[in-house]
Amino acid sequence: MKLPYLAAIACLLGAALPAQAQTGPVAVRSLAASCTNCHGTNGKAVAGAGMESLAGEPQDKLLQKLKDFRSGAKPATIMHQISKGYSEEQLTLIAEYFSAQK
């Protein structure tokens, strides 16, 4: 019965620490990479191609934009839809990640 026992422990720990695995640097890097198809690797968009660069932008400015897309306050072609797919915590992590990119 070793395996079920381990699984039970894992579940307990998981319940106690729900967010840890999703907020570590590796997980946040992957989360932010879901943006980079359009906004460039690590948030550095291709110059002149019409997409906004995110790297090194102030964190609060990025987060406010994302929140405004989400609420509909800021008009968009698709970002109003994409931003609704992330939790507020995830948007905060994404803004923090890109603002830290040089």
Binding site: A7, A10, C11, L12, L13, G14, A15, L17, P18, Q20, A21, Q22, G24, P25, V26, A27, R29, S30, L31, A33, S34, C35, T36, N37, C38, H39, G40, T41, A45, V46, A49, G50, M51, T77, I78, Q81, I82, G85, Y86
Partner: protein, 407 residues
């Protein structure tokens, strides 16, 4: 002017989430080495190769095996068919992967995989050993379902142009050579197929070309499906407003056979003669996936574990892109394949370091479709109107995703 995008959270079991939190302290700099061979340099494979090198900070050795000399993009290729863009606009080099990221790019073809010995056999070069394998093989056409097309000569005359490259150029030439007053017919297979909006975009762009240059000509869409498979309301609106009289849509028209000489599509109860017949045959996962014996769904698409992107039957073999049996609402698109490449890269780096992969992988999709050379639609909002801003965004999307995978 619009595009559709959709984000899909990949659902994982509670136990998976819990397990990962035991290992929540994964760090960025783990360098455990290992050699990953990536087969196929399309949207998925090229992205995986780059991100494996970037995120492992060079700790993982990566070999990319690709049969073609350059990357040629399927997205935007419909604009080449319409005469609005050239092949040069959609062709990119693999040198960025070599020079910027140290990926060993080999131009060759993988003829077989030995999962037990962990080696791949090449058409020309020596066998290559791997610790983990990434298969990004795209699709293989099922010509046996259209028997008259099951030979090289027929395939030169009735084109798919559903893999960008020489067929893209050839279809453009057929359209240029067609007399005014002719019919261009496109046959769409039953879903799931690569790029759900792609055939409708192509039909729209060819109609735009006819309207400008061959106004007595007509586009005929022969769709095996019951209805338009993507952005339905927007495509129908665009056709009604832009192409009334020179574009016709027919549903439930599954192609059974063709008459190659007369360019005739044989349907169940009808036959349709065209001047240019463009057949997208039914397809399945690229041949190397089936040849390797990976477990398939419906005998067509590779079934994977979405936490690691590994084949459910062959751990250690990660599969990406159009070859996959998709999660619900996840289309077969280049954008999705790029996201798959990143999910696989992150999972491989964790696994090679003896850590658990991310328990909540997340992927988004974005898709712009041109309805004429200057106007793009997206899927999610039926209120959206066509506009030129989104056409700029669509090209911006292309330039950025190409850079994200190749430079």
């Amino acid at each position: 002017m619009m595009l559709m995008k959709r984000r899909d959270f990949l659902k994982t079991g509670a136990s998976g989430a819990a397990l990962a939190s035991l290992y929540g302290c994964a760090n960025l700099s783990s360098k455990t080495g290992g050699h990953v061979v990536v087969v196929g340099g399309g949207y998925g494979g090229a992205t995986a190769a780059k991100y494996l090198r970037m995120w492992s900070e060079g700790g993982i050795k990566v070999t990319l095996i690709e049969r073609d000399a350059d990357f040629v993009s399927c997205p935007i290729s419909n604009l080449v068919i319409a005469g609005e863009k050239t092949m040069a606009d959609i062709t990119l080099s693999y040198t960025g992967l070599k020079d910027n990221w140290g990926v060993n790019v080999i131009r060759d073809e993988v003829v077989s995989v030995n999962p037990d010995k962990r080696t791949v056999k090449l058409g020309k070069g020596d066998d290559i050993a791997y610790d983990r394998l990434v298969l990004a093989p795209g699709i293989e056409f099922l010509y046996d379902q259209i028997p008259s097309l099951d030979n090289a000569d027929a395939q030169r005359r009735i084109l798919h142009a559903w893999k960008a490259g020489p067929q893209t150029v050839a279809l453009r030439k057929q359209l240029e050579d067609m007399k005014d007053g002719g019919v261009y017919a496109i046959s769409i297979p039953k879903a799931p197929y690569r790029c759900p909006p792609g055939p409708y975009e192509r039909a729209s762009l060819v109609a735009s070309y006819f309207k400008a240059r061959k106004p007595r000509s007509k586009v005929l869409i022969l769709d095996a499906n019951e209805e338009v498979q993507s952005k339905k309301a927007l495509f129908i609106k665009a056709w009604d407003e832009l192409y009334k009289g020179n574009l016709e849509y027919r549903n439930n028209c599954e192609l059974k056979e063709v008459d190659v000489t007369s360019q005739t599509a044989l349907l169940e109860f009808d036959k349709v003669k065209a001047d240019v017949l463009n057949v997208i045959p039914p397809h399945r996962a690229g041949a190397i996936a089936t040849r390797t014996g990976l477990k398939l769904v419906n005998n067509r698409w590779v079934e994977i574990n979405w936490l690691t992107m590994e084949s459910v039957s062959h751990p250690g073999i990660h599969v990406l892109g159009d070859a996959l049996f998709p999660a619900p609402t996840m289309p077969k698109s280049g954008h999705m394949a790029n996201q798959h490449g990143k999910l696989a890269a992150a999972a491989i780096i964790a696994l090679q370091a003896g850590e658990a992969p991310n328990s909540h992988p997340l992927a988004t999709n974005t898709c712009y479709s041109f309805v004429d050379p200057k106007n793009v639609i997206h899927v999610s909002s039926v209120h959206a109107s066509r506009n030129e801003l989104e056409a700029q965004m669509a090209m911006g999307w292309a330039h950025n995703i190409w850079a994200d995978m190749l430079t």
